[in-house]
C-alpha cells in the first residue's frame, strides 16, 4: 500500500481566499467570542506582525486595516469533502481527515505513470482548485500525514516507498506533528522524548502503561506494525459547490476565474465517478435573496472544464447583471455515464460528429436555441410542410434511432420521391403577394413562365387545405422564382421560393 496525504493547515484562510487572494491583511479568528485569537493570517497580515495564537485585539492594533473573518468549521469540512470528491479521480480510496485527505495510490500507480507523475498531477490539480496543500507519500496513512505536516512546517522531508525504511525516514520529525494530546506531548518532552526516533526507541509496553494504549497503537500504526484501516469517502450522487468571491464582482468578466476553479473541481469529481452532466446550472448570488440562474444544457453528458467554461462564457456575456455578485454556485443534480472523447491525430467520422455537437452547443449558447437548427424532409406535399426543423438533434443520436427502427425506410430516408418537381433553394417563410399587371404577375419586370403548372393539392384532412398551381418564372434580369396561385382566387399570385 502506498498512501498520499494532502494536508491543508491554512484551510480556513484558503476558503476565504480561494476565489482570488486579497492584498489587504486578513485574519481568521477562532476561540470564545470574548477573547478570539488569530487562527491563520495571510501574507499581508503576517508582514504587519500578526501571528497565529495572538489575540484579535492585539492583531488589530498591529494592522489597522485587518479584516477578521470567523472560522467556519462547517465550511472547512465541506471543502475537504469536495476535495476528496475531486481526488476520487486518482483512486477510489479517499478518506477525509482532520485537516486534509489521504489517498491510497498504489493500485493506480501504473495508470498514472509512476509516483513522480502522480504526485505532480495531484499538486497541479490542487493548485488549479485554488488551494495550497502539503503532500506526503508513505506506506501508511499516518506516516504520509506526518510527512505532509513536516513539509507544511518547512522541514526537509522525502517520500518513503518501502515499509522497512519508515522508521529511518520519520526519525527526525518532531512528535508535536502527531495528533497526540497536549498533556502527553508535554510529559514526553519532560522525559526528553521530542522526536519520532526517541519515541520508537522506547519499549511499546512501557508507553502503553504510562501514556495509554492509544499512544502505543498510534506509534504502531505509524510504522505499519498495526493495520490502519480507513473508510473511503463516498460522495453524494450529485454535484454542488459554492465559492464566495473576494470582492463584489460588478462585471460578468470577473466571474470567469472563480468559475474555472469550480469547474476544475466539477471535472475531477465527475472523472472519479466516470460521469458527466447534461444539465449544469450556475447561480450568481447577489445578496441573501437575489440570485441569477444560468442553465447550460448539453446534447450529451459533459464534464470537461474548458469546454463548459467556454459555453458558460457565452451565456454570461449575454447577461446584464442587476446587482454585483458575491458568490457563485455550481450545481449538477443528475449525473449520467460519460463517454470519453478520444483525441486522435486524424479525426474520423465519430470525432467529426462529436465536434459538430460541441459546435452546435456553442452556437446555441450564444445565439439562442431557436436560431441554430438542422433540417430534414417532411412527410407532406405542401411546400411549407415538406421540410422539418430538426432542432439540435445530434447526428449520432439520429443514426441510432434509425438503426433501432425495423429497417423500413421512411419518406426522408429514400431521398426524394420522384414525383417532386424542381424545388427552389430558398423558401420564403410566408408567401409574398406579387404585383399583377394586365392579369400577369410581375417581379422586377414581367415574369416569363418557364415551367409548370405543378398542382399541389393537399391538407384537406387537417384543415390546412392547399390547392395551388406552382410555376417556375423568370424575370428579365434572369432571376428565377417559384410562384403560385390559389384556385380560390386565380388572379392573386404569390412568390414562394427563389432558385438561388
Amino acid at each position: 500500500m502506498l498512501w498520499v496525504a494532502l494536508e491543508l493547515p491554512e484551510l480556513p484562510l484558503q476558503i476565504v481566499e480561494r476565489a482570488g487572494a486579497s492584498r489587504d491583511p486578513l485574519a481568521i479568528a477562532e476561540g470564545p467570542p470574548q477573547r478570539p485569537v488569530v487562527a491563520c493570517a495571510n501574507a499581508a497580515a503576517k508582514a504587519a506582525g500578526v501571528r497565529e495564537g495572538q489575540a484579535v485585539a492585539a492583531a488589530k492594533a498591529l494592522a489597522a486595516a485587518l479584516r477578521v473573518v470567523a472560522r467556519d468549521a462547517g465550511a472547512e469540512k465541506e471543502t475537504l469533502e469536495r476535495l476528496a470528491a475531486w481526488a476520487s479521480q486518482f483512486t477510489p480510496m479517499v478518506s477525509v481527515e482532520a485537516q486534509g485527505i489521504v489517498l491510497e495510490v498504489e493500485s493506480g500507480l501504473r495508470l498514472f505513470g509512476g509516483h513522480a507523475r502522480l504526485t505532480a498531477a495531484i499538486r497541479r490539480g490542487v493548485r488549479e482548485l485554488g488551494l495550497r496543500a502539503a503532500l506526503g507519500i508513505a506506506p501508511t496513512p499516518s506516516a504520509a500525514r506526518l510527512l505532509a505536516r513536516g513539509e507544511a512546517q518547512g522541514l526537509r522531508v522525502r517520500g518513503c516507498f518501502a515499509a522497512g525504511e519508515l522508521p529511518a525516514r520519520l526519525a527526525e520529525l518532531p512528535l508535536f506533528l502527531l495528533d497526540w494530546p497536549e498533556g502527553t506531548l508535554a510529559r514526553l518532552a519532560d522525559l526528553g522524548v521530542l522526536r519520532v526516533r526517541d519515541a520508537l526507541a522506547l519499549p511499546p509496553e512501557g508507553i502503553a502503561r504510562r501514556f495509554g494504549p492509544e499512544i502505543a497503537d498510534s506509534l504502531a500504526r505509524l510504522t505499519g506494525r498495526l493495520a490502519d484501516a480507513r473508510s473511503p469517502y463516498v460522495a453524494p450522487p450529485r454535484f454542488r459547490a459554492r465559492l464566495e468571491l473576494p470582492a463584489q464582482a460588478e462585471d460578468v468578466g470577473a466571474l470567469a476565474f472563480p468559475l474555472r476553479r469550480l469547474l476544475a473541481e466539477f471535472e475531477g469529481a465527475l472523472r472519479g465517478r466516470g460521469a458527466g452532466a447534461q444539465r449544469v446550472s450556475i447561480a450568481l448570488e447577489h445578496d441573501r435573496t437575489a440570485r441569477t440562474h444560468v442553465q447550460l444544457d448539453f446534447a450529451s453528458p459533459e464534464r470537461e472544464a474548458e469546454f463548459i467554461l467556454a459555453i458558460a462564457r457565452e451565456k454570461l456575456a449575454r447577461l446584464a447583471l442587476a446587482a454585483p455578485t458575491v458568490a457563485l454556485e455550481l450545481r449538477a443534480d443528475a449525473l449520467l455515464p460519460y463517454a470519453p472523447r478520444a483525441s486522435t491525430w486524424l479525426p474520423g467520422e465519430r470525432e467529426q460528429a462529436l465536434d459538430a455537437e460541441r459546435l452546435i452547443e456553442r452556437l446555441a449558447a450564444r445565439l439562442g436555441r431557436d436560431r441554430v437548427f438542422g433540417i430534414a424532409l417532411g412527410d407532406d406535399h405542401r411546400p411549407e410542410k415538406s421540410w422539418e426543423n430538426r432542432g439540435q438533434t445530434p447526428i449520432s443520436k439520429e443514426r441510432n434511432s434509425v438503426d433501432a427502427g425495423s429497417g423500413i425506410p421512411s419518406f426522408g430516408n429514400w431521398g426524394l420521391s420522384p414525383v417532386f418537381g424542381p424545388r427552389p433553394v430558398w423558401l420564403l417563410h410566408v408567401p409574398q403577394r406579387l404585383l399583377v399587371q394586365d392579369g400577369e404577375p410581375r417581379l422586377q419586370g414581367a415574369l416569363e413562365m418557364r415551367g409548370g403548372p405543378e398542382r399541389i393539392e393537399a391538407g384537406w384532412w387537417d384543415g390546412g387545405e392547399v390547392r395551388r398551381d406552382y410555376y417556375i418564372a423568370r424575370n428579365p434580369r434572369g432571376e428565377t422564382f417559384w410562384i403560385f396561385r390559389e384556385h380560390r382566387d386565380l388572379r392573386a399570385w404569390y412568390l414562394h421560393g427563389v432558385f438561388a
Binding site: 474520423g348 467529426q352 459538430a356 459546435l359 450564444r366 437548427f373 424542381p422 417556375i472
Partner: protein, 244 residues
Amino acid sequence: MKRALEDLARLPGVWLGGELEHVVREVVATGHAELDRELPGGGWPLGSLSEVLHDEAGIGEVGFLCGALARASEGRRRIAWVSPPHLPYAPALVQHGLALDRCLVVRPVHREDALWAAEQSLRSGACGAVLLWLPNAPAEGGEYACLRRLHMAAQAGRSMAVLFRSSAAESRSTPAHLRVALTRRADALELRIPKRRGPPLVEPIALVAGWRSRTAPEARAAACVPSRVPVPADPPRALPRIAA
C-alpha cells in the same frame, strides 16, 4: 535564371503571374468541368475564404456550388448556412445532392453574431463548408480584418468558406484567395473570376444552372399533376405564356 524562377515557383503559395498556381492544395471538384479547369488546383479551395459576387437573387448562385458542397461534406462534416437570406429548402437541397443531416442552419440576429458563428464553425473543424451572408454590410474599415479572421479560421479548420456578397464589393480589396462574379445570360449562368491565384479570368464562362442540369422541370412537373384532381370550376383563362 529561368531555372531559379522555376524552383521558386515550385514553392507553395508562389506562382508565375501568367499561369494558375499549380501547387496542389486541398480542393473539391465543383462538378462543372469548365469551372474546375479555371480554378487553381482544379477545384474549389478548402481551407481558405472565397467570395461569390452577385447582384441578382435566383440565378443559381447557390446551386452552382452544390457539387462542391456535397464533396466538402464527405466524412460527416457539416455544411453551415450562416444567416442565409431565406430558408434553405430541404427538398431542393436533396435534389442538389446534399445530405440533409449534414446541413446546419444558423440564423443570427446581428452581423457580429453572424461573423462569430461563421468563425466558430470554421475553426471547429466539424464543418466542411460554411456559407455566409452578411446582412447590410457597411463598407467600414474593419471589414478586411473580419474577413481575414474568417480566412485564418478556414485555414485552421480545413473548411471551405464562401461569402456571398453584392458585386459592389468587387472594387474593395479582400483577403479571399478566390473571387467569383456571377451574372445571368439567357439560360446560362455566366461566371467571371476577378481574383484567383493566377491571372484573372475576364472572358466569362457559361455554366448551366444547377437545377436545370439535374432535373427536367417541365417533364417532372407534368408528371406531378394527380389525375383525379377535379379541374377548377373557373379554368385559367389567360394562362401565362410558357416557354417551350
